[in-house]
Symmetry: C2
Subunit: 221 residues, 2 copies
DNA sequence: GGTTTTGTTGATCGGTCGATAATCAATGGC
DNA sequence: GCCATTGATTATCGACCGATCAACAAAACC
């Protein structure tokens, strides 16, 4: 019989101590932190994080010097792993219409960022410190919205060399923000069945129409 | 000499006790709560609320049975006093074009709801309980978006009697959400000078163009 | 002016939180 | 099989929080 199978200290079937590699343990803690913080905000207790990770609370301080660094680890886990490098190529694939490209992209993108855990953690981060917000705002603008404007310019034969202006980004920001807000609305208990792809399509239609209106009067049926 | 002018207990110039009417005191407490909760979220302490209101913390429990009712009082102060009854008439004033009416309305509306205290309290409330969110979502939809669709129908001569469908609300929701998100973005430390009226105008233009495209092919230059 | 009413305060309780120190025990090296 | 390493736990500290209660004092009343 293996020793310690049923010592007096065991209250359940779970072995009292399970020893993991630092990387694996740390990963479990971060995942527990992400889940908890997404539910309750960053005032969720370290004890609850530890409970969900199946460890005791002091052990948490073996992997993170303080709670703040645990919060930042949760940031990284969720936000930094959002962007798929393949999307950059997708957005610039000029063999397909802009609307079709960005439809594909936004369906994949929102499938990630519309998850409650992502949206809630995002808004909690936004409310807590403007630092994270400024950083991610830059990501959205450079990776998504400016490519959208540039690719649409090229599609309209307007040339894509010169810099994208602030005014050109207004409508893209409006629609991107509208989509984000739609995700938040659906995430917060709403169940009216309006599906994501349709909403994305409408947003992209609005942009395509709007950019065409500024172009040399090419009409779309 | 008035008694108690400089007793041993006075540490500053402030009189130790200032006696107010319950209504005035309660109002001061609620205002302090609104300010604090907008800054730190609803985990802001009752002691800090009391400090900002210039009273001691136990007195707070003379006016509110517990912290939750103080939170709800802060809700009411900010959210219930948002809507100006005059706006209902404004939105239905058919002597002016729909775009012009809603431009005026949204400029007044966002002047209130784009205040950091409003936006932050709103998102904190949204993240905390879906109840408040569902309630306010109903307000926006019934008071703003459905009138927008109906008035635009009338302007296009399509008749405004039959009910507004869910699909018709998609684009309005998209643009309304985009505006809200724009306010949040500006509130969170961004200073790029893009002004509200211009953004509102672009959002309304998008809606007007979109609804015109669905009409019997009337073209707008 | 004495008495009542009630707005206000000081003191404090039980609970939870973040963080630390001492101790225990599972694994790898030899 | 012993030992060193280090993952993991128990116990605990100081701070803060929500809430309660007895005591105090400023108006209000007659």
């Amino acid at each position: 019989m293996p020793k310690g199978q049923q010592s007096q200290r065991d209250k359940g079937a779970e072995p009292v101590r399970k020893r993991l590699s630092p990387a694996a343990r740390r990963s479990e803690i971060v995942q527990a932190a992400v889940d908890l913080f997404a539910e309750t905000g960053f005032d969720g207790s370290t004890r609850e994080v530890a409970r969900r990770a199946g460890i005791t609370q002091p052990l948490l301080y073996r992997y993170f010097p303080d709670k703040q660094s645990l919060i930042e680890a949760a940031y990284s886990r969720v936000f930094l792993e959002t962007w798929d490098p393949a999307w950059d190529a997708l957005l610039q694939d000029r063999s397909r219409p802009v609307a079709e490209r960005f439809q594909t992209f936004y369906e994949a993108y929102t499938e990630i960022v519309f998850q409650p855990v992502w949206l809630r953690l995002w808004y909690y981060a936004l409310l807590r410190d403007a630092q994270v917000h400024a950083w991610y705002r830059e990501v959205v603008q450079e990776q998504i919205l400016k490519p959208l404007v540039r690719e649409r310019r090229a599609e309209l034969g307007q040339g894509d060399a010169f810099a994208v202006t602030v005014e050109e980004l207004d409508v893209p920001w409006l629609l991107h923000g509208g989509l984000l807000n739609h995700g938040l609305r659906q995430s917060a208990g709403q169940r009216d069945g309006r599906d994501r792809p349709a909403m994305i399509r409408k947003a992209l239609d609005l942009f395509i129409q709007h950019s065409a209106a500024g172009a040399p009067a090419r009409e779309t049926g």
